[in-house]
Symmetry: D3
C-alpha cells in the first residue's frame, strides 16, 4: 500500500498555534505530513527563511511523522517531487474558503492525482493568523496566546 503523504504548505511567518492544531488533528489520517515553507520571492516576509525553518523544527521536533522543508515554485510540483498525494489546509472563514477553492480547483486542473483536504479551525483559534500575529508584534503587543511557546521569545528577539 502506498504511503499517505500530505504537504501542509504556508509561509509560516510566523507559525501559530492554529497551524500546529491543524497538523496534530490531521496526523492520524496520514503516514507523513510535510510542513513546507513556500518561498515567494515577491512577498517580503517579516522573519527570514532561516528563522522560520528553525521555528518549524523546534515546534515539531517531537513528532516523528512530521517533516519540515521549504520549496520554490508551484506547490503542486513540490507535491509530485515528494510523492505526496494530498495537500492539507486549515480553513477559518468563508473568505478563506473562496481562496482555498480557487487554489484547489487549479491544482486539480494541473494534476488530478493530488487531492486537497480541508480541516476547520477550532472556533477559539479561528481569529488567529500569521498576518494578525505580525501586526500585534509590530505594535509591541502580547502574542503568547497565539504562538507555540517554543518560539515565543525568538519572535520578539527578532523585533529588537
Amino acid at each position: 500500500m502506498k504511503a499517505k503523504i500530505a504537504v501542509f504548505p504556508g509561509s509560516f511567518d510566523p507559525i501559530t498555534i492554529g497551524h500546529v492544531d491543524i497538523v496534530k488533528r490531521a496526523l492520524p489520517l496520514f503516514d507523513k505530513i510535510i510542513v513546507a515553507i513556500g518561498i515567494n520571492s515577491q512577498k517580503k516576509s517579516l522573519y527570514s527563511l532561516k528563522h522560520r525553518m528553525d521555528c518549524l523544527n523546534l515546534v515539531f521536533k517531537d513528532m516523528p511523522e512530521v517533516e519540515t522543508d521549504f520549496y520554490e515554485g508551484l506547490t503542486i510540483n513540490y507535491c509530485k517531487q515528494k510523492s505526496a498525494s494530498y495537500i492539507l489546509r486549515g480553513i477559518r472563514s468563508a473568505s478563506d474558503f473562496e481562496y482555498e477553492k480557487t487554489i484547489a480547483h487549479l491544482n486539480n486542473a494541473m494534476d488530478e492525482e493530488v487531492e486537497t483536504i480541508l480541516i476547520l479551525s477550532k472556533p477559539e483559534l479561528s481569529s488567529i493568523s500569521s498576518t494578525i500575529v505580525r501586526e500585534i508584534i509590530k505594535g509591541k503587543g502580547e502574542v503568547s496566546k497565539f504562538v507555540p511557546k517554543e518560539v515565543l521569545t525568538s519572535l520578539y528577539d527578532f523585533e529588537v
Copy 2:
C-alpha cells in the same frame, strides 16, 4: 493500528454524481466509508427510505470499502456506535461552508474524538445538489447528467 472509518452522512434524496465523486476521491484516505442516510422524521423526503437505500446499494455495489446504512438521532452518536473517527463532507460554496462549520464545531463540542474532513466539489459538479435534482424531476426535466446512471430510471418511475 486502528481502522480509519469515515461516515458520509446525508439524506441522499436522491443521490447525485456529486456525492459519488466525493466518496471516490476520499476512499484512498480511509479503510472504510459508511454512506449513511440520516432519518429526519420532521423533513418530508421525495423518495422513501427504502428507495434511497436501494439506490445507495446499487451505486456502491462494486466498492467493497463502502458500506451503506441509515440511522436516527445525532450523526455524532452514530459515529461512536460505528467506531468512526471521521465525518466526511463535500462542500460546494461559501454558504455550504458556513453550514458545515457550525455543524462541525458542534460535533466537536460534543465529542472531541470525531474529526470532520471537508473535500471540495469539482467545479463542474458544484451546482448539483439533491434539492436541484428534485426540482428538475418535479418539473419533468432531464437529470441524466446529474445522477448516477444506475438509479436514473427509478427516479422517474417514482414520479409516475
Copy 3:
C-alpha cells in the same frame, strides 16, 4: 436579426418597486421582456395567482415591450417555448448571488442556448424583497415605500 427576448421569472408575491426598477433598467437591452409568474404548487403564496397577475398587468400596462404571463414547470422549458434566449435576474446580495449562480449553471447544463443576465439592485432598493413586504403586511406595517403605488391598496384589501 433574431428578436432579443428575456424572461424575468419570479413569484411576485407581491411585486415590489425593486422588480419594477430591474425591468425598466433592462428594457433598452431587449426587444421584449416577459415578466412571468412561475407557479410552484408546493409553495403556498400569500396572494392568489389571479391577484398577482392583476398587479403585474396594472404595473406594466404602459410599457408595450413588457409582456406578463405565468407558467408551470421549469423556467428553462418556458424560455424555449417563448423563444427567449435570456433569463433576466436582479441581485441584491452575496447570498442572492450564490443562489443565482446555482440556478444559472443548471439552466446552462440543460440548455446552452439560454443565457442568464444579472443586474444589480440599486443600493436604496437592496433591502426590499417580496418576503420582507409580506412580513410587514402581516404585521400591519406600512409598505407604501416598497411596492408600486398602483397595487398598494389591493395588497391591504387582500389582508382584510
Copy 4:
C-alpha cells in the same frame, strides 16, 4: 436625558448561553434591555410561549436592568410602544450579517429613530444557536454546554 432603552428580540426557542452573553456584554451601554419574544403565529415553536417566558424570567431574575416581555406584530412598532431607541442583535457569521442588514435597513426605512446595534458573538459561542440546540435535544444529545444551567432540566422535561 432620555433613558437608553434597547429591545433584544428573538424567539428564544430556547434561550442559549449565546443570548445571555450578548445581553451581559451590552448591559453597560444601556439603561434597560428588554428581552422580548416575538410571537410568530406561522412558525411552530418547540417550546410554548409560557415555557419560554419562564426560562427568560429564571435566567435574568438577578439582573434588574433586564426586563422580559413578548409581543405580536412588527419589532419596530413594539420598540416605539416601549420608547426604545435601540434594537440589540448578536451576530455570529457572514450569513447572520446579511440577514441583520436587511432587517435593519427596513426598520430604518420605516422609522429613522430606531438604531440597530450589533455585537459579535465570542468565537467559542459562535456555533451555538437555538436551531442547533433544538436539533440536539430532539436527537437526545447533551446540551448542558449550550444553555443556561437554570433552564437545562426543563428543556428535557419538555421532551418527555
Copy 5:
C-alpha cells in the same frame, strides 16, 4: 457612573460622509467618541497626517462630544490609555464583517474589557469607502456626493 467612551479608529484617508454618519448615529449611545487616526508606518497614505487631522477637526468642530486624535501601535492599547471601553466600527458588507470579526475577537483575546460595537452603514452609503474616493480623485472624478462639504476643496487642492 463611569463615562462611556468609544474610540472610532481608522485611517480617514480621506474621511467620507459614511464615517460622519456612523459617528452621528452612535453619538447618543456614548458620552464621548474619539475619532482617531491610527498611524501605520508601512501603509502609504494619499493625504498627510496633518491634512487628515485638519479634515477631522473641520468636520467635527461643532460636535463637542467628539474628540479627534491620532495614535501609533495597537488600537486596544490606545483604548486603555484613553479609558475607552468601546471600539466603534461601521460595517457595509459581508466582507467588512469577516474583517471586523477577526479584529474584534483578537482585541477581545488581548483585553476582555474593551467591547466592539458595530453599526450598519445606511444602504445609500454602503458603497462609499476611502479607497473608492481615492480612486475617483486620482481619476479626476467628482466626489462631492461622497465626502463632507467642509473638506471637499482641500481634497482636490492636494491633488494639484
Copy 6:
C-alpha cells in the same frame, strides 16, 4: 435606434479563456463590445501595455463587433467618451460579487446613464483569473488550459 455599446474593462494581464468566454456569450446582446485595458500607473503589471494590446488584437481579430482599446482615468468617463451605455463584467464568486457591487453602485452614483451588466462565469472556468495565471507562469507551470492558444507562446517568451 441608438447603438448598444458595452465596455468590457480589465487589466488583461494576461487575457484568459474566461475573459474570451464572457465576450462571446455577451456579443449577441450588443452591437459592439469594446475590450479595453484600464491603465493603472500605480499597479505594476507583469506584461507591458503593448504586449497586452497585441494579445487582445490577436484573440479578437476575427470578431468584427469587438473593438480593442486602452484608457486612463475612470472607466465611467471612458464609457461616456465612447458613447457606451453598458459596462460588461464577468463574475465568478461571491467575493467578485461584492467588488462588482461596490464599483457598479459608484459608477451609478456618478452617472445614472451607464448600466452594469453581469454575466456568470461557467463553472469549469470559475477558478481561472489573470492573477492565478501569472502565479503559474512565474512558477514555470503549464497554462495552456487557461489562456487562448493564440497568445500562449508569447506569455512564456515574455518570461525568458
